[in-house]
């Protein structure tokens, strides 16, 4: 450690290049979610506790189905990046990599499951 120069210690530790990209992707998904959230809350919400037939008929309509699918995909992609920031702040070492991998898999898995289920109901 004592023989490392300041430059050697800094190289490869990450500059602003990729961080701004991630920040911009979060900005885009957050604006998308601001539009989607009210639509989703007030289409999906009233369906909770409804009979199965009614739910199937409702999500066979284009608007509720498209809003629900977009909401599931966008929110899980937003979550994937957001939770990665959380993990990077509080988890260290190998546990950090493992946690990020697991939560990334969970995000894609949940998004795919949601889209599959909504498509199956809608089609």
């Amino acid at each position: 450690m004592a023989y490392l120069t300041d430059l050697k210690r800094a190289v490869g530790m990450g500059s602003a290049r990729e961080g701004t990209k991630r920040h911009w992707s979060m900005t885009k998904s957050s604006v998308a979610l601001l539009i989607l959230t009210p639509f989703f809350v007030f289409t999906f919400g009233p369906m909770l506790g409804q009979p199965h037939d009614a739910v199937m008929a409702y999500f066979a309509r284009p608007f509720p189905a498209i809003v629900a699918a977009l909401m599931v995909v966008t929110s899980f992609m937003h979550f994937k990046t957001g939770v990665q920031m959380l993990v990077e702040d509080y988890v260290h070492g190998l546990a950090r990599e493992i946690t990020i991998i697991l939560l990334t898999c969970l995000s894609y898995g949940a998004a795919a499951t949601g889209v599959f289920a909504i498509a199956k109901i809608a089609l």
Binding site: M1, A2, Y3, L4, T5, D6, T27, S30, V31, L33, L34, T37, V41, F42, F44, G45, P46, L48, G49, Q50, H52, V55, M56, F59, A68, V72, S75, F76, F79, G82, V83, L86, A110, T113, G114, F116, A117, I118, K120, I121
Partner: protein, 127 residues
């Protein structure tokens, strides 16, 4: 020159010595609400999967999500959703370079708290 004192320098005071402030608490809650929303999101995906699978499976998922415990989780999640959304708007305002004065930032924090409560009540009444 390499820094010979690296690793031996005194640390500046961190989180533990600060009095909780409007700005820090509303910021921490943005993170907590955003990540806690995972629970509701997974419940909702499960609800959709159950609906797509069968009437019996749907009854199980819908029964759990509308039980008293499900209602509690969903009600808290509605608040978390609106809080996170409004706090996100505050971040977009800051990112654009506005509202960064301490007084304005504190007012925005109050607006986020009040706004999220109002939107939660509206959602509960309307849905």
């Amino acid at each position: 020159m390499a820094d010979v004192n690296r690793g031996k320098r005194p640390l500046s005071p961190h989180l533990t010595i600060y009095r909780p402030q409007m700005t820090s608490i509303t910021s921490i809650f943005t993170r907590i609400t955003g990540n806690a929303l995972l629970v509701a999101a997974l419940l909702i995906v499960w609800w959709f999967l159950a609906a797509a699978t069968s009437s019996e499976y749907f009854a199980v998922a819908d029964g759990l999500i509308t039980s008293w415990f499900g209602d509690l989780v969903m009600t808290l999640s509605v608040w978390a959703l609106w809080y996170h959304a409004l706090a996100g708007v505050r971040h977009l305002i800051w990112d654009a370079g506005y509202g960064l004065e301490i007084e304005t930032a504190e007012k925005l924090g109050l607006a986020v708290i009040a706004g999220s409560l109002v939107l939660t009540i509206i959602t509960i009444l309307a849905v």
